[in-house]
Amino acid sequence: MSDRNLLQLAEELVEFGRKNGASQVEVSIQQGTNFSVDVREGEIEKLMEAVSKNLDLRVFVDSKMARASSSDLSKDTLSKLILNAIQRAKLSSSDPFAGLPEKETITIDVASLKIYDPAVLDMAPEKKIAAAKEVEAICLKDKHIAKSYGSTFNTHIGERFLANSNGFSGAYRRTNCSNGISLQAGKDPNLFDEGWSDTSVHLEKLESPETIAKKAIYRVTRLIGGKKIESQNVPVVFEPPMTAGLLNFFATCVSGNSIYLKQSFLAGKIGEKVGNDLVNIIDDGLMPGALGTELFDGEGVPLRKTVLIEKGTLKNYLLDTYSAKKLKMKTTGNSGGPNNLYFAAGSSTQEQIIKSVDKGLFLIGTIGFGEVPTTGDISRGAFGIWIEKGELTYPVAEITISGNLAQLLQGIQMVGNDLQFKDSITGPTVKVAEMTVGGK
């Protein structure tokens, strides 16, 4: 189906729902063109190509809501789904906060967002296969690498169509491509796995196979020989991907749903000092060419830039229409969660940060799920490199780190100048005053 037909289908369904008893209707369609190739030990292991479609809809009958979705876009199925949803909504409870967003005109020119690169679409499959093979070949030449789990090259072209009964009708498309590998190093029983993968909206900005291979080799080989250490409380330096991991947890704690449900330690803290002056956290859905940039969110609300924490003071939450109404605030265009969420850069180099630590952990990896938004508590498996007298010494493994996000935000001591926008959630190197490292 062409673009126009899918937007038209969405509009027709909105109309159909209105005629059949819904006071409000929203229909959203996503179409994805996906390609992926997995290469292992020099051979193609899996080649996949497909176009997928999915439709999501919400209906409101008075203030009662029901949802539905389908990968079957036949009109017969969809009209039955809407009629069913209207019936279900009637059996639901009335909720004065439920409803579609107010109509907001999109003033942004989608081209200025730079989220679509035709080169991704035009790239020949042979080139994608060659790029994946090249990454692996470089890695396997390194004598420290025991095995390859395989390299993968993906491309995705996504199109979104959204129409609602408040008169919104919009569409846009975006691209992304990625190339990466997972590796194993060490000797049985002390094996380590790590890897690297880079994702980009624009093909030309994707890291080269050499860069990806180099990073992957570096990331896995530095773990070799990792050992346990004694349990102790020490300062921890977060490598940028680990700062991003912390922000990921922060995003859950600052999401409107967690807030109005009081399942977050940040509930009711707007205007309060939740971190020290070094803490500045921002979500920017309009950053040109970034992975989390879109024209509008899952409800058709235009994306924007939202300051969440400014010099330690909590300024806003990540809100959709519903949670915003519940909290008597305004939607921030975050119905799909964070867009481009980042911890603003500071002035120190990573080297200066490490130099400042007499004894502590340089955190480079975590494993497991130990994050509780209600309390801010964090407790996870960890990998890192031990810092002694300002120098990186030996790798440590099979340890745990624990702390509390509220305390960590108050205890940020240094912030790096190495912020890069290579992922939709990102941050620089950051040093926190103290966490508990669990070991022997």
Partner: protein, 508 residues
């Protein structure tokens, strides 16, 4: 972005309902009181895909020299109802419909899928999958011959997809009310009922045609308690491959709700754990997650065929204390991880993995079994028609031992007792981490104070050898397992057991 090859298991993957899966356009059939049964003609009757067309598509898929082709047809409906803040806030109905086409050549897989059953679209998809090979057709398609599982591991008497919404709302409300009224300190409750019905038909170039219809149902409750500014959340879920009768025969919604609140209240008085190596007792039921992560994942055939699992060269050797026996059984009636047929048409059987401490088998799918010269055992599973089948667990069990729970606790002077988990994660190298939602201190042979925020960390080789005592109070819990970006419904079961020494992470 770091590429993660880790497998994980999440206990509370709950409230984010209805983003991917399916629901019940069954009303036309079900309204007439027709009990759904596996039907080989389902996709022909409902969507007009004839057996002749299936055969032609299989042929096209082999036209470039592939050795094996397969079509996986899926139609799935998923319904959910959820209650929050004292109101029924949301309900959804989701449909997944499509066909996945797979072509194998040696160790190589070509894959394509479409949600359009027109012959032209399926042909185009088959040609995409066929491109993994480059040459001329070498194999012919055998005549399709029907195969029946003979297993009946589902309760299809009153499938939830056939149950009226007001009955479901009533169940959700009962669970909610039981959780809310359990204690005055309970301040928030969420309760949801999720049910699905999945129709599949698998045909392949070897002439197989087989069908299955799988119900799945789960009631999930989370409860948050507050006291003196301290908040804690407890979770409980109940369900399986069952229907409405589950709530009268196995567990009432009230019990599920109450248990969620019980955990939240217990956590209010919980202390942080003592960090460091210590004896650890794993309580029965939820500690199944440990067996799943530490033993199950490293024994999935794909990672062993590729020699990336720490267990690849240990078949036939002693890998655990001889008191340890572990198997996976997809045929346990009504369990969340059970099925009559796996997702590539193999009829599953109970598979012994570790017998008296010796490694005796891997969990196989077709591809790995063929390349390893072993037998497929019905563990090839996929999330939807959009995914290739890979070796997965179903219901993973640590067999009961001879010790008594009391003796196990008494044997620990100072240690940790793990009761409920948020989840766990393991890498191919055998390193694992578990996040314990609630545990207890063991002091002088007695269970004392509740503990929160503990993390258990170790390697599978170490833990298998350090299992010292095993009781016989086996119990299971329901989970959702993630691997290579695909999720699968599973259970895991274990009796209470003692690990001699393990690292506990915490904040002291």
């Amino acid at each position: 972005m770091v590429d993660s090859r880790r497998r994980d298991f999440l206990r509370k993957s709950i409230i984010g309902l209805a983003t991917t899966l399916t629901s019940g356009l069954w009303f036309d059939m079900l309204a007439k009181g027709i009990v759904p049964l596996p039907s080989l003609t389902f996709f022909e009757e409902r969507f007009g895909v004839s057996r002749e067309d299936m055969k032609k598509i299989l042929e096209i898929a082999l036209s470039k020299g592939g050795e094996f082709s397969e079509l996986f047809f899926e139609y799935r409906t998923l319904n959910s109802v959820s209650m929050e803040e004292d109101i029924i806030k949301d309900s959804s109905e989701n449909i997944t419909l499509g066909v996945g086409i797979r072509v194998l050549k040696g160790a190589q897989t070509g894959y394509g899928y479409t949600d359009d059953f027109s012959f032209e679209k399926m042909k185009q998809t088959a040609l995409t999958a066929a491109a993994i090979a480059s040459g001329n057709s070498q194999f012919t398609i055998a005549n399709l011959s029907e195969k029946f599982s003979g297993l009946h591991v589902y309760d299809l008497n009153l499938p939830m997809s056939d149950v009226k919404l007001d009955t479901k709302v009533d169940l959700v409300k009962k669970a909610y009310a039981a959780a809310q009224t359990y204690d005055r300190r309970i301040i928030k409750v969420q309760s949801s009922l999720i049910d699905e019905l999945q129709y599949i038909t698998i045909v392949n170039s070897e002439g197989l045609i087989i069908a299955d219809v799988r119900p799945q149902m789960r009631l999930v409750v989370s409860a948050t308690a507050e006291e003196n500014g301290i908040y804690n959340t407890g979770f409980k879920s109940a369900g399986g491959r069952v229907g409405l009768n589950f709530f009268s025969t196995t567990e009432t919604p009230e019990v599920t709700g109450k248990k969620a609140s019980e955990e939240a209240i217990h956590l209010l008085s919980a202390v942080d754990p003592v960090a460091g190596e210590q004896p650890v007792v794993l309580g029965s039921r939820q500690s199944g997650v440990m067996i799943h992560e530490a033993v199950g994942h490293p024994l999935e055939a794909d990672a062993n065929r590729k020699k990336t699992s720490i267990m690849w060269d240990k078949l036939g050797t002693q890998v655990a204390n001889p008191i340890v026996t572990i198997y996976d059984d997809p045929t346990i009636p009504f369990y969340r991880g059970s099925y009559n047929v796996d997702d590539e048409g193999t009829i599953p059987k109970k598979k012994m993995l570790i017998e008296n401490g010796k490694l005796v088998g891997y969990l196989q799918d077709r591809l790995s079994a063929k390349l390893m010269n072993m037998e497929p055992d019905g563990h090839g599973r996929r999330q939807t028609y959009r995914n290739i089948p890979i070796p997965r667990m179903a219901n993973t069990v640590l067999a009961p031992g001879k010790d008594l729970v009391d003796d196990i606790i008494r044997s620990v002077k100072k240690g940790f007792y793990a009761e409920t988990y948020q989840g766990g994660q393991v890498s191919d190298t055998g390193k694992f981490t578990f996040s314990v939602n609630m545990g207890y201190l063991i002091e002088d042979g007695k269970i004392t104070r509740p503990v929160k925020n503990a993390t258990l960390i170790g390697t599978n080789v170490q833990i298998l050898n350090e299992v010292e005592m095993i009781a016989n109070d086996t119990a299971f819990f329901l989970g959702t397992c993630g691997k290579d970006g695909q999720s699968a419904a599973v259970t895991a079961g274990t009796p209470t057991l003692k690990i001699r020494q393990m690292t506990v992470g915490g904040r002291k």
